[in-house]
């Protein structure tokens, strides 16, 4: 017996889109606060869809990096540290809210 999962249909991206469409359809019938929450819910599902498309996250030694920054061990290569962190931040923004880079650039 194997625990391999064969591709299922609809796939996760499709399910998330379907639930988002349902939330969109509900919006006109909702009072202000629930309409806002439906939009937030849809936003969170969008994040899930983009994160699934991106692939799994990985443990990346953030604790060690944080300790080094705090202790001043990255003061000497500060600019390259910022470049590295910005590269990671761009990936996180692309998953979270891709428009954020365009909006504020």
């Amino acid at each position: 017996m194997s625990d391999t999962l064969r591709p299922q249909s609809p796939d996760m991206a499709d399910i998330l889109q379907t639930v988002q469409a349902f939330l969109k359809d509900c919006e006109p019938q909702l009072a202000a606060e629930d309409r806002y929450k439906a939009q937030v819910a849809s936003y969170l599902l969008g994040i899930c869809a983009r994160e699934i498309a991106h692939g799994p996250s990985r443990r990346d030694g953030a604790e060690t990096l944080c300790a080094d920054i705090r202790a001043g061990r990255r003061d000497g290569d500060w600019d390259s540290l910022l470049d590295q962190l910005l590269e990671e931040a761009r990936t996180a923004v692309r998953v979270t809210k891709p428009g954020h880079m365009g909006e504020t650039a």
Partner: protein, 337 residues
């Protein structure tokens, strides 16, 4: 503001009794509304009719007391608002604080301030065309008056961690949320290496930005709201928070609240009697503002994942930390103004 259907007055016997205790047994309470966008605190709007005169009030009650909350207790908020009000600042008039015999928990009642708080409407809507050009100068004038309030009146804020050292206070909050975030760590490192040499302690509003200013289309700023972050510190901290990129909303190109340049704000502030600052002194507190906002998002995330206070919006705040970190890094790298 959207409201839930008015409940029967009998559901509010406690509120009505509390109001009559303070304002007189002869007053009537009417038109009770519960705004649905209340957040963590419970907000009730109501009219008090006294001998044919009707005045609208707002009741705020803490529904949940987080022992680790970095925010001011309602009693201290009320005290700070009262001092500001007595000095003629535009604050909703503080009416009374609840006490144990009210059975309403912690909270207070103020006069109702009408107007608009939605930043994007204030920045773009034609209704605010007439007042928009002067909002930043008016805000600077109000800030100068807040910072000139007698600091000896605010001894009750002196022991707060953010009054002692707001950067360290936020570092301690961040550490408490136990998430390793290299971007936030870099922000704190930069703040520590670039600390301003001037150390003065005046009374600060602590959350002075669009969203906490009630704007009237004719009169401009009608009230300064949300005093729960008030503390002692350097005036530049309040000015920098107003310019923090996250609070420019639809106009990131205009540092002062998305409405004017940084220099226009600083000129108006010193013309109103405030200290003279150069733009770099304000930029320091904008970097702090981004670090602080990132930490506040982590706080909401922590409340959610720890199960203390779960909710969609708090979950979204957790994920939005990444957006603030991006803005912080772009600013640290000199790629954002």
């Amino acid at each position: 503001m959207a409201t839930a259907p008015t409940r029967h007055l009998a559901d509010h016997a406690d509120l009505i009794a509390a109001v009559r205790r303070r304002l007189g047994a002869g007053v009537t309470v009417a038109n009770i509304d519960i705004p649905t966008l209340g957040g963590v605190n419970r907000t009730i709007l109501f009219d008090v009719v006294d001998k044919g005169t009707t005045k609208r009030y707002v009741s705020r009650q803490e529904t949940y007391v987080d022992p680790d909350s970095p925010f001011l207790a309602t009693g201290d908020q009320f005290r700070a608002m009262r001092i500001a009000f007595e000095h003629g600042l535009p604050v909703p008039e503080p009416i009374f604080e609840y006490d144990a015999s009210d059975g309403m928990g912690n909270g207070f009642v103020t006069a109702f301030a009408a107007g608009e708080t939605m930043p994007k409407r204030i920045q773009k809507d034609p209704d605010f065309l007439a007042v928009r050009p002067r909002l930043v100068a008016d805000a600077a004038g109000i800030l100068a008056r807040i910072h000139a309030l007698p600091s000896q009146s605010f001894g009750f804020l002196a022991e707060r961690p953010d009054s002692a050292d707001t950067v360290s206070a936020h570092r301690d909050l961040y550490d408490g949320y136990r998430q390793a975030r290299p971007a936030i760590e870099a922000g704190f490192r930069w703040l520590e290496r670039n600390r301003p040499s001037v150390v003065d302690r005046v009374f600060l509003h602590g959350d002075f930005r669009l969203g906490n200013l009630m704007i009237d289309g004719t009169d401009g700023i009608s009230a300064v709201l949300d005093w729960e972050c008030a503390h002692l510190g350097q005036p530049a901290e309040d000015l920098g928070w107003l310019c923090t990129r996250s609070w420019r909303f639809s106009r990131p190109d205009l540092p002062a609240a998305g409405l004017a340049s940084r220099q226009e704000l600083l000129d108006a502030y010193s013309a109103a009697g405030g200290r003279s600052y150069d733009a770099d002194e304000i930029r320091y507190w904008e970097i702090f503002g981004l670090v602080r906002f990132a930490v506040l998002n982590l706080m909401q995330n922590h409340g959610h994942v720890s199960g203390q206070r779960r909710g969609l919006v708090y979950a979204a705040c957790g994920r939005n930390t990444a957006l603030v970190e991006y803005d912080l890094l772009m600013t640290l790298a000199g790629r954002y103004e």
